[in-house]
């Protein structure tokens, strides 16, 4: 079974934003809104070095979850999902490594183009860390009703 079922992958691919939850050193969950960029079975996102606190959290504890809950952010799609993931950060090419995701990002957020043009004005905005999420367990509410039990999927490698 793929790590992400087709309906879940489609939902994540459509979502403009989602909730990335990390755990800080005291065990407290912290939620960040992020643009999810789907690439195969992995979910990618980027974080500017200006907003790098989450990177420290992830490096200290790579166990995260990512949720799509905002109905406004998924257009005509319905459904809600929470994906438990193992996160990895890539800091090898802060200047342009994230640009591999630019086409996908632009598709979700046209203002990115304008922002990229502002690289002149805000150079540190575009020094960005890549965050890669490998899904391991999924809770999916196909009709978006979280007052009902979710469908649960466990990635094959986790199930083994």
């Amino acid at each position: 079974m793929p790590a992400l079922s087709y309906p879940v992958a489609r939902l994540i691919d459509a979502a403009l934003v989602g909730d990335l939850t990390v755990i800080d050193s005291t065990g407290r969950p912290i939620v960040y809104e992020m643009v999810p960029l789907l690439w195969g079975d992995r979910i990618f996102m980027t974080s500017s070095v200006l907003d790098s606190a989450k990177i420290a959290h992830i490096k200290a504890n790579p166990r995260v979850s990512f949720s799509i809950t905002n109905a406004d952010a998924i257009g005509t799609f319905i459904g809600k999902v929470t994906v438990q993931c193992d996160a990895r950060v890539s800091e090898d090419d802060l200047h342009s490594g994230w640009e591999r995701l630019l086409d996908n990002w632009k598709r979700k957020d046209r203002t990115t183009i304008a922002l990229r043009n502002e690289r002149y004005a805000y150079p540190l905005v575009f020094e960005r860390v890549l965050i890669e999420l490998t899904p391991r367990r999924t809770w999916f509410w196909p009709d978006g009703r979280t007052d009902q039990p979710p469908q649960t999927t466990i990635a094959a490698e986790v199930a083994r």
Partner: protein
């Protein structure tokens, strides 16, 4: 002081908020709205949704149980009660907790906010088990979709507390911590400046981890361009070149002193820009943040692309060159008029570029209008004429000054919330939106009318009317100003158009004078109405 927090809510309770997407919620006091953790005032987070977005707790500083959190601006606090009040606008929120397997879990739940009691209630989500007494986070968030794709105006509030079990599978949380952020209140430039120290800490940490120095990749050209404030350059040089153009047209040009004047201005410009960058660098290293940041300097200096010692040497060097050239020009072409103009110009220019005091007293626009209009243009002309100042030069300097004043106003307008909090009384903080928009209309109209009046009166050449081609841009800016005045982040983008207006207006006037000079020299005509 009462402040209002504009919040549009996605899962809003229809009974508590207006269904309009841009609902305004009254904040209980002046400390509401958005904020980061008190323990981590400069730990903005995650450019994920957009490069300049939310604040978030900093892992290194995130501790303690203070019920108070801090906003982007350290002087502005948000209390848990404020956070609960913000949360009351949401009907649904994301419930997060640390599951038994060590992973965080998120589920959207319907919430019931008891503002007076300071509690939030929700039902245990079906399919999950919450342990009474466990720590949970409750997050309400909003974004506004743009009609042509994308989004803006993101805001969110997170409250933390222990979940207490109640009858019938219900839980109640009395939050002890809050973190909120929003894009509406903080313009990108201010957010950027505030976060530079976090970026520096990140690079320091990564460098230590890898054992090699790692920093931002900025081309030298880009870094220099930022440091030298290239958007301002056209404003500085246009009046000088126009002053020389008038001198050429009137046959009073002296090429040696003209070259020395341009060189002196260039050296002074470089010296002042570098000095401003140095001051910004020292300001950031000292842990300070300037809510009413100025373009250029700070962000580049903050990235440690330049060393303070190098900036000091370069600034001093260029200022010495400027001083030497100024002495040469004054010595060879001096006049009482030129001495007065030079003293006024240097004083105002330095004060405006280096110190926030002038703009902090509502005089920044006046200083810019005088500096980038009459003083530079008339000073340049006075060098050539040895003191005499004809009506043509005086009239020509008026529209330039007016447009420069408008641009100066627009630079401070997006920062007015931060300026007001910091006690900086810029003109933008003193006037209402309607006064600001009508003031823009009036001043822009005066600038264009003065060109027309000058031509009609026979003081300015007819080709100067090409400057009217900049009028549509001014009209567009007026529209943007009116539409976006309450949205600092969007208004910040309008500032760029203001610089464009100033540049285009100056270039068009120069084009008009080039035509005039060509007409005189080639066709031996004087293109004046009288």
């Amino acid at each position: 002081m009462s402040r209002r927090f504009r919040l549009s809510v996605r899962h809003a309770d229809p009974a508590s908020v207006d269904p309009m997407p841009d609902e305004e919620l009254s904040a209980p006091d002046d400390e509401v709205a958005t904020g980061g953790q008190a323990e981590a005032p400069e730990a903005p987070e995650a450019a994920e949704v957009g490069p300049l977005d939310s604040l978030a707790p900093d892992s290194t500083d995130f501790s303690g149980d203070s019920p108070v959190s801090e906003k982007a601006n350290p002087s502005e606090k948000i209390t848990v009660a404020d956070g609960v009040a913000l949360m009351a606008a949401y009907r649904q929120a994301v419930l997060s907790w640390l599951a038994e397997d060590g992973y965080p879990m998120n589920v959207e739940v319907e919430i019931e906010v008891k503002t007076s009691a300071g509690t939030i209630r929700f039902s245990e989500p079906p399919g999950f088990r919450l342990a009474p007494g466990m720590q949970v986070a409750i997050t309400g968030s909003y974004l506004r979709l743009l009609p042509d794709g994308g989004f803006e105006d993101r805001s969110h509030v997170t409250l933390w507390g222990l979940a207490s079990a109640r009858p019938r599978g219900r839980f109640s949380v009395s939050p002890t911590r809050v973190w909120a952020s929003g894009e509406i209140d903080e313009p990108p430039a201010a957010a950027y400046v505030r976060r530079v120290p976090q970026a520096r800490r990140y690079f320091d940490s990564l460098s230590a981890e890898r054992g090699i120095p790692i920093g931002p990749t900025l081309s030298t050209g880009l870094a220099l361009s930022r440091l030298l404030r290239t958007p301002v350059a056209s404003a500085a040089f246009a009046p000088v070149l126009l002053g020389l153009a008038v001198a050429v047209r009137t046959g009073r040009i002296d090429f040696v002193s003209a070259a020395a004047t341009v060189a002196a201005l260039a050296a002074a410009y470089l010296g002042v820009s570098l000095a401003a960058g140095l001051l910004d660098l020292l300001h950031v290293r000292g842990g300070g943040r300037r809510p009413g940041d100025k373009p250029g300097g700070l962000d580049v200096a903050g990235t440690a692309v330049f060393r303070a010692s190098a900036l000091t040497g370069a600034a001093l060097g260029w200022l010495l060159v400027a001083a030497a050239l100024a002495v040469f020009v004054l010595g060879t072409r001096g006049s009482p008029e030129l001495i007065v103009i030079t003293a006024l110009g240097l004083g105002l220019g330095l004060a405006e570029a280096v110190s926030p005091d002038l703009s902090g007293r509502g005089l920044g626009e006046v200083a810019a209008a005088l500096s980038f209009g009459p003083l530079l243009l008339l000073g340049t002309y006075a060098v050539q004429s040895r003191g005499s100042l004809p009506p043509e030069a005086i009239v020509l300097s008026i529209p330039l000054g007016l447009i420069a004043g408008l641009t100066a106003f627009m630079r401070t307008a997006p920062n007015r919330p931060g300026d007001a909090r910091a006690g900086r009384r810029t003109l933008a903080t003193m006037v209402s939106e309607s006064v600001a928009v009508r003031g823009f209309e009036l001043v822009a109209a005066l600038a264009f009318i003065s060109v027309v009046a000058g031509v009609v009166a026979g003081v300015l050449p007819i080709p100067a009317l090409v400057a009217l081609l900049a009028a549509p841009l001014a009209r567009r800016i007026r529209g943007d100003l009116s539409r976006e005045y309450d949205r600092p982040s969007a208004l910040a983008a309008v500032v760029g158009w203001g610089f464009r207006l100033q540049r285009n207006f100056g270039l068009l006037l120069m084009g008009g004078y080039a035509l005039t000079i060509a007409d005189q020299m080639v066709l031996a005509r004087t293109p004046f109405l009288h």
